[in-house]
Every structure is written in C-alpha cells, then in structure tokens.
C-alpha cells in the first residue's frame, strides 16, 4: 500500500515537471509562455495561501498585501536602483515579507476565526491605501511599467525556466512542510487547538510561523509576477486579489495539497477563454464561488478523489 502511494507521488511529480518543463517547446507565441508562467506563479501563490486556510484553518483575506509587497519590492528597486537590482530585490521582498508578517501577525493572531479574517482584510486595505495615495514614491494608480529583468532573464523562455525552478523548489518545500511534524501540528491546530495546548505546544507560535511562511511565498510569487507582466499596479494589493487566490484554492480543493494549484490553472484558463477583461468577470467569479461553497465544498480535486474512491469501492464490492 505504502509502495503504491510513493510510486503514485513520484509519477505525479514527474508528469507535473515534464508538462511544465516541456511546455515552451509546444508553445508558438510569447503570449502562451506568459500564460504558462502566470499559471505557475498563481499556483504557487494559491498553494502558499492554502497553507494558512486549508492546512491550518486560518482564512486570510489579506494575502494580496504580501503578493503586492513582493511586486513592489521589485518594481520600486527597478525604478530607483536600476534593472541590475532585480534578483536582490526579490530577496528584499522576502525580507520585507518576513518583517511585516511578524509585525502584523503579532497583532492579528491575538484573535481567531472571523475576526482574524476581518483584520487581515483591514491590514491589506491599509497597505493598498498607502500605496495608492503615496503617488510620488509608488506611482499610485499608474503603477510602474517597463520592468524588464536584467541579462538573460530578459528573455521570455529563460525567465520561464527561472520561474519554474523557483516555483518547483517552493512547492517541494511546502509539501515537505505539510508532511513534517510542524505540518501535523498545523493540522491539529485546525481541528482542535485546545488539544494542541494540552500537548504543550504553543498555538500562537505555530500560527505566527505559518502566517510568516505563507506570506513569504506570496511575496515570492508577487515579485516573480512583476517580471512576467513587466509592470506592477496597485490592484495587486487590492482585496480582490486576495479574493481571487481564495477562489482558486476553493475551486481546486482546500483539503488537497495540489488542489489550489489546479484551481489556479483552471481560473487562468477560463479567464483567457472568456476574455480577461470581460465586463462581468466578477459575476462569473461570484457564481463559481457560490456553486463551490454550496454544492462542491471539497473542490474539483477533492470531489474527483471522492468519486474515484466511490467507484473503486463499488468495483471492489462487486468482486467481493
């Protein structure tokens, strides 16, 4: 049993890596590369978000704060320090995310449940407001355009593989984390925080830790996104960005590690098919969310697994 499971996991990783590694060979236009790149980055963002919501049970409505923070670290260093600062800027974004997530986290993990969600939203909107108003420094509503990564990274395909490596490393790390003792602690935190206290572990320490880790990877996703879109905008910090990453996770399935990644891919592909700037995009998102919450709360991956298990036990029952 264990062997088949390990075998399946390995097969999954190989297929996953191959699909994304070979994708550029089949892609004829820059546009398709950008699309694949966006799927990778949003996928990482969604998986990182789900470390909070699906694994630990902390629904954050403010992860756009860190996504935008990473993007603005890259954008602002590009604007004021020059293109060669691209890689250090990603590091600066990560450090910034650690510092801010600890400061904000210390304030907001003092409350739990709905209050936590409300406060994440409020802090996210606070940072959005500041960025929006501070026109002289951040460019306000105009954002920052023309961000071209330096050297070989300026090439679309090279940048794609650069992103792929970082995203794979991050996802591998997060997956290891889920299956580590800390991952068990986090799942226990979602199901029964009192028992965790009983076992002598600190609830707050673990909450703060996962909030920081999730925020760091959100910042990484944001800074990578700046290089894909070649521009940043205050919308990356707006609450709708947080909402979109939540929808991706719920669509894919918050109970599955890869669910959010699949959800991100589905949403981005739908966005392309329907036309990203369709007038009624929010309506589509809203109705999708409604259907998922009311009818398919386990998400696409979760419900598919459930269906698969049912079919299996049905077939097994026939044989027996």
């Amino acid at each position: 049993m264990e062997d088949t499971k390990a075998y399946k996991t390995a097969a999954f990783w190989i297929v996953f890596i191959l699909v994304f590694a070979l994708a550029p060979l089949r892609m004829t236009s820059n546009y398709q590369i950008i699309l694949a790149n966006q799927i990778l980055i949003w996928g990482l963002f969604a998986v990182a978000f789900n470390m909070l919501f699906g694994v630990t049970g902390m629904l954050s409505f403010g992860q756009a704060l860190y996504f935008g923070l990473g993007a603005y670290a890259v954008g602002l260093s590009f604007k004021y320090l020059g293109a060669s600062w691209f890689l250090p800027a990603i590091g600066m974004g990560l450090v910034g995310a650690v510092v801010i997530s600890i400061l904000v986290g210390l304030l907001i993990i003092r409350v739990s449940g709905v209050f936590f969600t409300v406060l994440t939203l409020a802090f996210g909107q606070l940072v959005w407001q500041i960025t929006f108003r501070w026109y002289n420094f951040t460019g306000g509503d105009d954002g920052i355009q023309g961000i071209i990564p330096p050297g070989i990274l300026g090439d679309r395909i090279a940048y794609y593989y650069f992103t792929l490596c970082l995203v794979l490393l991050s996802i591998w790390f997060l997956r290891r984390l889920v299956h580590s003792p800390m991952g068990l602690t986090l799942r226990c935190l979602r199901q029964n925080p009192d028992r965790l206290r009983f076992l002598g572990r600190s609830v707050r320490y673990n909450q703060l830790g996962i909030y920081m880790i999730s925020s760091c990877f959100a910042a990484l996703a944001g800074s990578l996104m700046a290089g894909v879109n070649n521009s940043i905008h205050t919308d990356m910090l707006y609450w709708t960005t947080s909402g979109e990453v939540i929808l991706m996770s719920v669509l894919g399935g918050i109970g599955q590690f890869f669910g959010p990644f699949i959800g991100a891919a589905v949403i981005i592909i739908i966005q392309e098919v329907v036309g990203a700037k369709t007038e009624f995009w929010p309506l589509i998102i809203g109705l999708t969310m409604m259907v998922m919450v009311l009818l398919l709360p386990k998400g696409l991956v979760g419900e598919a697994r459930l269906l698969g298990n049912r079919l299996k036990s049905f077939a097994g029952g026939n044989r027996g």
Binding site: T117, L126, E279, F280, P282, G286, M289
Partner: protein
C-alpha cells in the same frame, strides 16, 4: 481653528457616525444573534441607495416614502439571501470560513447585477424638500439634512434598544443568540427567527444607504467601502455588541471628519490607524463582547 469650524466638523462627523452605526449595528446584530458573519452587508447598503435613487430620481415619489421602501426592499433581499443560500451551510464544519466565502460571492454578484441594471455612472439624489438648505442656530449655519439624519439615527438607536430589551421579539432574538436548540424546543420557529433578524439587519443597512444617497454619490462598489468602514467600527467596538457599535461609529465618524479637514490626503488611512491602536491595547474591542446581554 475657530469654534464654528470645530462644531461644523463635529456635526459632519456625527452624520457619518449615524450612517456607520446603522450599517454596523445590522452587522453586529446578525453576528450576535445568528453567529453569522455577513461580509456582504455593505452590498445591502448599496441596494438601499440604488432603490432610493430609482424611486426618487426616476419615479419622482415622495422622498421619505422612498427611503422606507428602499429599506424594506433591501430587507426582502436580505431575507431571500439568508433563506435561499446561507441557511444551507449552517452547522457545516468550519462554517465561519464558508460563511465569509459565500457572502463574499454575494458582494461580487450584487455588484454586477447593480451594474447591469443601473450602469456604472455615478448617480445622484436631490435632498428632500425642506431639507436642502441650512438653519442658523446661535450664529452657526448647520445643514438641515445632516441634522435630520442625526435625529433619525437617534430615534432608531433608542427604538432598537427598546425592542431588543423590552419586547417579546427582542427577547427571542437574544435567546437565540444564547441557545438555539433550547429556543426551538420551547416552540419558537428558530429558522424563521434567523431569517427575520437577517431581514431587519439588512433593512437597517439599506436604510443607511438610502439616507446617505443625497450626501454621497451612488456608485457600484460602494458596498465594499462601507463594509470595510463598518468592519473597523465593530473591531473598535467589539463584535456582537450594540453599544460597542455605537461607540465605534462615533469614534470613527469624528476622527474621520477632523482628519478630512486637517490632513485631507491621508484621511482614509486614519481610520486604520485608530483600528491598529485599539488592536494593540484592546484586541477584543473597547467593549469586550459580553455574550448576549448587550446584543
């Protein structure tokens, strides 16, 4: 800064506080009684504003009748949202998160429906006859419509408190916050109670939207601005607490009014600063939630 300036700002702060209180009290009522977090509460505010616009500017009905009709309309929409959708997820594991997600989807859907019906342009409403000017009291010019809002707000605070604390429906509402199962076994229709509470709360939100329409322009997306302000109010005051919501609205309204006059560019950030300060020193809100006694 002279006295008339301070009184003028104080009054405009009080107007804002009244409107905020109407929205936040509905939010806190639903949370306190039903333990439901209605993220879409601001959208019912917006529905109220648009219904009032439709009635007054397009159909030329009487202003005050239109305001009450708009509140009733928002309440009916609220009851529909509760009985058709929200009711289905009560009692599910991790209900809180799903409540937020479901009501979040309401925001998006209502926003787009409003855009489809009324378009994206700003809409405006004239102040009612007899309230378009200002009065002079002791040498101060005070806009009459603001005074009317403050007066109406006071009446509603007192009425709501009386209903909650002195009448049978109020007692049922408070009891359902304590123990729904016990209430049901005593012969009260609990699901109906929840729907009605939801209706009253969303009607309060719609009423605030309709009242505010002549002061602020009516736009789609107003829902999210209002919900964030009222969230700050309940964070300051303590969630599920009637008087906390009142105090929070008062603080936020006044701080905002003076910030707009002193540092207009950063006024919108000041609300958050107040919230952060409260969080640092009183994370449970200024009025710590003491269960239901003060719903």
């Amino acid at each position: 800064m002279d006295v008339s300036f301070i009184i003028g700002q104080f009054l405009s702060g009080l107007t804002m506080a009244t409107l905020l209180f109407l929205v936040a009290s509905g939010l806190t009522l639903i949370f306190g009684v039903g333990n439901v977090f209605n993220f879409a509460h601001g959208s019912f505010y917006m529905i109220g504003a648009y219904l009032a616009y439709q009635a007054v500017t397009i159909w030329h009905t009487n202003f005050w009748a239109a305001i009450f009709a708009a509140a009733a309309g928002a309440g009916v929409m609220g009851m529909l949202a509760e009985s058709l959708f929200l009711r289905r997820i009560y009692g599910r594991a991790e209900e809180g998160g799903f409540q937020i997600l479901l009501t979040y989807s309401f925001i998006l859907v209502i926003d787009d429906l409003v855009k489809m019906i009324w378009g994206t342009e700003y809409k405006s409403l004239l102040r009612p006859r007899g309230f378009s000017g200002s009065v002079e009291i002791a040498g101060l010019t005070l806009p009459t419509y603001n005074l009317a809002i403050i007066g109406i707000g006071l009446i509603i605070v007192v009425l709501a408190w009386l209903i909650l604390s002195r009448t049978r429906p109020g007692r049922i509402a408070r009891a359902s916050a304590l123990d729904r199962e016990m209430l049901g076994s005593m012969g009260v229709n609990v699901p109906l109670t929840m729907t009605l509470v939801f209706g009253v709360a969303t009607a309060l939100g719609g009423f605030a939207g309709a009242l505010a329409a002549p002061l602020r322009s009516v736009t789609p997306g107003a829902g999210i601005e209002v919900i964030i302000d009222s969230l700050i109010v309940v964070v300051i005051g303590g969630m599920g607490n009637f008087w906390g919501a009142w105090l929070g609205a008062l603080i936020l309204g006044e701080v905002n009014a003076f910030a707009v006059a002193v540092i207009p560019e950063w006024a919108s950030v000041v609300s958050y600063v107040v919230m952060v300060l409260v969080l640092i020193f009183r994370p449970e809100g200024l009025f710590a939630p003491r269960g239901v006694r003060k719903v």
